[in-house]
Amino acid sequence: MRYSIWNVLAQGLTGHRGWKPVWRDPAPQADYDIVIVGGGGHGLATAYYLAREFGARRIAVLEKGWLGGGNVGRNTTIIRSNYLLPGNEPFYEFSMKLWEGLEQELNYNAMVSQRGIINLFHTDAQRDAFVRRGNAMILHGADAELLDREGVRRLYPFLDFDNARFPIKGALMQRRGGTARHDAVAWGYARAADALGVDLIQNCEVTGMRIEAGRIRGLETTRGRIGARKVGVAVAGWSSRVMAMAGLRLPIESHVLQAFVTEGLKPFIDGVMTFGAGHFYVSQSDKGGLVFGGDIDGYNSYAQRGNLPVIEDVAEGGMALIPALGRARLLRSWGGVMDMSMDGSPIIDRTPVEGLYLNAGWCYGGFKATPASGFCFAHLIARDAPHPTAAAYRLDRFRRGLMIDEKGQGATPNLH
């Protein structure tokens, strides 16, 4: 059923009796043309674009828990296309363009909100790096502006301009950056995919892969065997575990990243900002909570929770940047398992197993990628050829020395 203001009004007048389920709960069929493993943002978007753009049929998404229960429902919701490197920027800008028309396309309000993101700089060297990046963004067709100290002060006068350990000198701003309501992104794609006939199967964990003569034949799941001609794996923090079922070791480590939200507050921070002298970033949700985060916890983990040292470190960054935060209260903290790759960039590629495709390595930045990741993964699965904007995300780039290392940290996943 189509959503609209008229619908909402009509249902409001008739006691909301007419709303239909957003998706069905089908039982798994014996086999499909394409099975996507992982009902997160990327898996759901992939299924949607497969059906919508590439005319694929008989598609299923298998999710071990509930749709959207992984990182897509745990992230800090920042979307931006302010990347530096040629392997990344076209992809993220493609994603941004998809975000810009997403709600109308999906007929679902995912609250894509381009309220602007600023990355603060505190030294000349950081400024120079941001000038390089801002120029790269514009050359790739994205938008970027350089703000000086006064420009930042006009936006956010309550930052610590007077007593800071590391003075704020300015910021790189992307006005088209912002946030989107993470759950709604998952639900919007799920609803749209379901409407196109995709079977979304929850509580269905993939436990094994049936591979014959180097070709994928199907999957073992907690809901029985499911045959498949092609399988796309998009399981984020679980990538190494799932791909081990195909005998593959990935250039990925799993780490925990925490996120935080305060009690609801009246509007305080309009856009998104990142601190350049500590690891801290923050925005305010439409509900009023300040949503913030910082570094990953630093050790390898599959636990969706973190520890005090990083909670404290993040709070310190927050207080150093915004001294008024002291009297805001942290309401909740939580964690998600990050698929940290060796160069900090993702992988969307074929695998040595024929018919088995991989989408992984998103680190803490894959939410913004959701639309393009889905589109490009669908392209790869449907056509067996990479989408032009994702052509650099190859699994063999580490062997070939074609890393896409935005932060210049090298093969140390916990530093990306």
Binding site: L139, A315, M319, P323, G326, L330, R332, S333, G401
Partner: protein, 984 residues
């Protein structure tokens, strides 16, 4: 008496003292022992807040930290503290509280129109609309939504209070000082174990303070006070009132926040407002009690409707009557206690509406069995209650307060912080701690689902004994004091069926039974989908008051059991925590430590301008009188250095002493070029690669003796390099005889550069340093100033004849003064980081902008330094095809064709006439300076096919500023490319 609703006697308040405070500007009075809520209720105030979405008028639902409704802003100005629970805020003389989320006033709130149009604002309505036209979201819809959302307001001013942090260690952490916690603490405390007993309340005792129950034949509160007195006298036990354990983390570490001064107008001088404790506990007992839950029925949110147990607490602990005519609506035996206690205290109980059809009736009261509340009335406060008798008859009773009890939920949140899964206990119709809780943590008392006082005392003792046995601490079981042991008698009623109107579940977020039904109709039926779609449980109480009801209603709709429906995971913190407390002292200038170089004091005396370099403060430049622009000072420093001699503090460079028979072999493995062949008394420039073949760091390493080396690193990578070397030494090659120590702070090191550098140093160094005795790249031990041991290196970053001289750090101040003195005849300058940057760019040395972690030695024009005669970290991988592209980026120099044109670092390089698109992007400017020698800007750049383009013209575009400059590509060595000066 402090207010019309204060009972004439009783209560744990100090009636001898009166405290005055204001709420929304109106004056009230209370007593020590009062909370803001108890004092306001005593003063006849029921309306204390507005709900989040519909701006419904609300009063306190509870008497504890779970309060979802009575949230106020406490204090004012920079100390304003939004969303403070009135039910736990202690009053003090002069306290100011203000209501929030209303306009213009709490009684008359225009935003309450939302309540009138509520049919259109059902759960998730916003996902279905506000989509057209697309641009209106940011311009119109979202700003409106954002303005309406939120509760209280941040002041925007810097928090004036201090916070602190600390560590504590114990054998047993007892969380909660109710009967279970007190008994556990007593058992462990008497056994001599190190015990911490923490409770969020300012008065230990838990429910005993709120009840009239007897323990050991005395009032429960008296028993608690006696136990607390005994515990307080134990040297091995630490009582921590006003301390909330906020989370259970790995390895038995608990976070706890102590509110040191929140009950005072402001923290006493030198004292923090709050302290974050990290408690390392070998074992822990969770004795956090239980939280009562309401029942959903139409109009169950009016001010005056509150939890029955809270009503009892107000009467017993604070001597406050919740109303003049009180009704009760219960589904369990415990709720009847409220009726008895109120009647006993002389409060009129007009009806006890008991959903359970069978059972005895309370004597002397109108106890209606099998009845349910179906409606309430009263705009800003309850006026009447309409009930439906067991025979279906309706009756409306005038009442100004309604106590509701739907049963109790164990406070098991901490058992879930490690992904523990609560278990549904049919007998008490509640979730109890299940498997998967934090190792070493056991629940006792109501937190474990044991709802009687006896059960609490017995389980508290038992859990403590088990913990002590585990730890091998001998203990004796103390006698259990006599206490009631009533079984739980409860008939689950989650919401009153067949009643019209909105019945509230999550009161703060305005989630109603109908919202749950809508979520069900739309297939958001799982616990997590339900939460996220309706916002059930996302309010400031994290669902402590509403979650189970919402899940039960959903279970009813799906036909699944509550156990199958499951519950969402509670997350730290247990109650919201001020971010200031989590940050502690690390804010403002104290955010990170400041490292000062040995010449800092001297530089300060000269009026130097300092700049942050990592944690260091370094001299950026030293203006002389008459210089008004930084460039004047920097140009002077550069020119004077090249003309005569300049001195620069380079103590911030990382310094690592490397010793051992295999030190040379070790260096060969960590540096891309060879070191083992370096003779004693010489130094060499080295580049170090990361494992992936990218340049990690550069610097010089000197050989002071056969098996003694000293390495320098860049300032930025001092820690990273040392960590890397230790990893190599300890993990990769433990068999090598090599030892490392970081000596960065141990040595003060100065660069002395310029044609007169030797002449200057000859006045300082005691030995012969003529070119013959101490040639280019010599290194060795010397003495200075007549005997002080020092290290001298003849190395150059500036391209001039240059040395670096190091003395023990404590002599650094003396040495800078001696150097300046010795340089007087040569017009020596001391230069800062700006001039240092100019000198090195003029010479074409790579640094920060070029050493960016993305480039290889080949890119830097240092490819020949990567030795193929031996293996070293990164060498193999640096040969991968992607890193050896012959047309790839190379380091070049850039100068503007028009010398008066400026360059900007970060500009990108394009061919003349090429469109400004990514495909034509050939490189970028990494570092730019103004060269006073050349009289124009110069820059280093990475450029595709760089060497081949030297001499050609390109455009440096900066699209951020909309500028573009015609440039010539040059060699990166702008000055003295043959290196004649440095050998001089």
């Amino acid at each position: 008496m402090s207010g019309p609703f204060r009972l004439p006697s009783g209560g744990l308040i100090d009636r001898g003292r009166t405290l005055r405070f204001t709420f929304d500007g109106r004056a009230f009075a209370g007593h020590p022992g009062d909370t803001l809520a108890s004092a306001l209720l005593a003063g006849g105030v029921r309306l204390m807040g507005r709900s989040f979405k519909y701006h419904r008028p609300r009063g306190p639902l509870s008497a504890g930290s779970e309060e979802p409704n009575a949230l106020v802003t406490l204090r004012s100005g920079a100390r304003a503290e939004p969303n403070t629970r009135a039910t736990v805020a202690e009053i003090y003389d002069g306290l100011q509280a203000t209501s929030q989320n209303r306009w213009p006033s709490l009684r008359f709130d225009l935003m309450a129109v939302n309540d009138l149009i509520h049919p259109f604002l059902a759960a998730g309505f916003y996902y279905k609309t506000f989509m057209w036209p697309a641009r209106f979201w940011e311009r119109l819809y979202e700003p409106l939504i954002r303005r309406a959302a939120g509760l209280g307001r941040l002041s925007g001013e810097a928090d004036p209070d201090g916070y602190d942090k600390g560590f504590r260690h114990c054998d047993l952490l007892v969380i909660g000082a109710g009967p279970a916690g007190l008994m556990a603490a007593l058992t462990a405390g008497r056994a001599g174990a190190r015990v911490i007993l923490a409770d969020e309340d300012f008065l230990p005792g838990g429910r005993l303070n709120a009840e009239r129950l007897e323990v050991a034949d005395m009032p429960g509160a008296d028993w608690a006070a006696a136990v607390v007195a005994e515990l307080a006298a134990l040297p091995n036990l630490r009582l921590m009132p006003r301390t909330t354990v906020i989370g259970a983390f790995d390895h038995g570490i608990y976070g706890a926040v102590e509110r040191v001064a929140d009950h005072l107008p402001e923290p006493p001088p030198g004292r923090p407002r709050q302290v974050l404790w990290r408690i390392y506990a070998r074992r822990a007992v969770l004795a956090a009690g239980a939280t009562e839950r309401p029942i959903a029925f139409p109009g169950n949110d009016r001010p005056g409707v509150m939890l029955a147990g809270a009503m009892r607490a107000y009467a017993n602990r604070w001597a406050v009557a919740a109303g003049r005519r009180v009704a009760l609506f219960v589904n369990n035996e415990d709720g009847l206690r409220t009726a008895a206690d109120l009647a006993e205290r002389g409060v009129e109980v007009v009806a006890v509406i008991d959903a359970r059809p069978e059972g005895a009736r309370l004597p002397g009261l109108r106890h209606l069995r099998g009845a349910e509340v179906v409606a309430t009335a009263g705009r800003l406060g309850l006026r009447s209650v309409t009930l439906r008798h067991s025979d279906g008859r309706r009756e409306t009773i005038a009442a100004d307060a309604l106590g509701v009890s739907g049963g109790w939920n164990p406070n098991l949140q901490l058992t879930v912080h490690h992904r523990g899964r609560p278990r549904w206990d049919e007998a008490i119709a509640a979730f109890v701690p299940g498997p998967g809780g934090p190792p070493g943590l056991a629940a006792a008392g109501a937190a474990a689902g044991l709802m009687s006082t006896h059960g609490a005392l017995a389980s508290g003792r038992a859990r403590a004994l088990e913990a002590l046995a585990d730890l091998g601490i001998a203990a004796r079981a103390a006698d259990l004091p006599r206490a009631e042991d009533a079984p739980v008698s409860l008939r689950p009623v989650w919401h009153v069926a067949g009643a019209r109107g909105r019945a509230w579940i999550d009161q703060q977020n305005d989630v109603t039974v109908k919202d749950i039904a809508l979520a069900h109709a739309e297939n958001f039926t799982g616990a997590e989908h339900l939460k996220r779609y309706t916002t059930l449980g996302m309010a400031t109480d994290q669902g402590r008051t509403g979650n189970v009801i919402g899940l039960a209603v959903m279970a009813g709709l799906t036909g699944r059991s509550i156990a199958e429906t499951g519950t969402t995971a509670a997350r730290p913190p247990y109650t919201p925590v001020a971010i200031g407390a989590l940050a502690g002292r690390s804010r403002g200038k104290a955010f990170r430590p400041v490292r000062l170089t040995p010449s800092h004091r001297w530089a300060e005396e000269q009026g130097a301008v300092f700049v942050e370099a990592g944690l260091w403060l370094r001299t950026q430049y030293i203006p002389r009188p008459g210089e008004t622009h930084w460039r004047q000072s920097v140009d002077r420093e550069v020119l004077a250095t090249r003309a005569s001699v300049g001195i620069c503090d380079v103590s911030t460079l990382g310094k690592i002493d490397i010793q051992g028979a295999d030190a040379g072999a070790f260096l060969d493995r960590v540096y891309a070029n060879t070191f083992s062949t370096l003779p004693v008394g010489r130094c060499r420039y080295g580049i170090m690669l990361r494992e992936d073949g990218i340049v990690f760091d550069d610097g010089t390493t000197a050989r002071l003796a056969e098996d003694e080396w000293v390495m320098t690193t860049t300032t930025a990578n001092a820690v990273a390099v040392f960590r890397h070397l230790e990893f190599c030494r300890q993990c990769l090659w433990p068999a090598l005889d090599v030892q490392l120590i970081s000596t960065t702070e141990a040595w003060a090191q100065y660069s002395v550069a310029g044609p007169n550098a030797r002449r200057l140093l000859e006045r300082i160094v005691d030995q012969d340093i003529s070119d013959a005795a101490f040639p280019y790249m010599a290194a060795g031990r010397v003495t200075v100033c007549g005997g002080l041991r020092a290290r001298l290196f003849r190395i150059s970053f500036s391209g001039e004849l240059a040395y670096e001289i190091a003395v023990p750090a404590r002599y650094g101040d003396g040495l800078i003064r001696a150097l300046v003195e010795a340089g007087r005849d040569f017009d020596a300058v001391v230069y800062g980081t700006e001039a240092l940057g100019v000198l090195r760019v003029e010479k074409g040395h790579v640094a920060g902008g070029e050493l960016n972690g993305q480039m290889t030695a080949l890119n830097m024009g240092l490819g020949r330094m990567v030795s193929r005669k031996k293996d070293a970290i990164g060498v193999v991988l640096s040969g991968r095809e992607g890193l050896t592209d012959p047309g790839g980026h190379r380091l070049v120099g850039v100068r503007p064709v028009d010398p008066s044109a400026g360059l900007t670092a970060g500009s990108h390089l394009l061919e003349p006439g090429a469109a400004k698109v990514a495909e034509n992007d050939l490189g970028w400017l990494t570092s730019k300076v103004y060269s006073p020698h050349l009289g124009h800007d110069i820059a280093l750049a990475y450029l595709r096919g760089g060497e081949a383009r030297i001499g050609s013209r390109m455009r440096a575009v900066n699209l951020l500023a909309g500028t573009e400059t015609e440039v010539e590509i040059t060699s990166p060595h702008f000055i003295d490319p043959q290196g004649e000066r440095l050998r001089g």
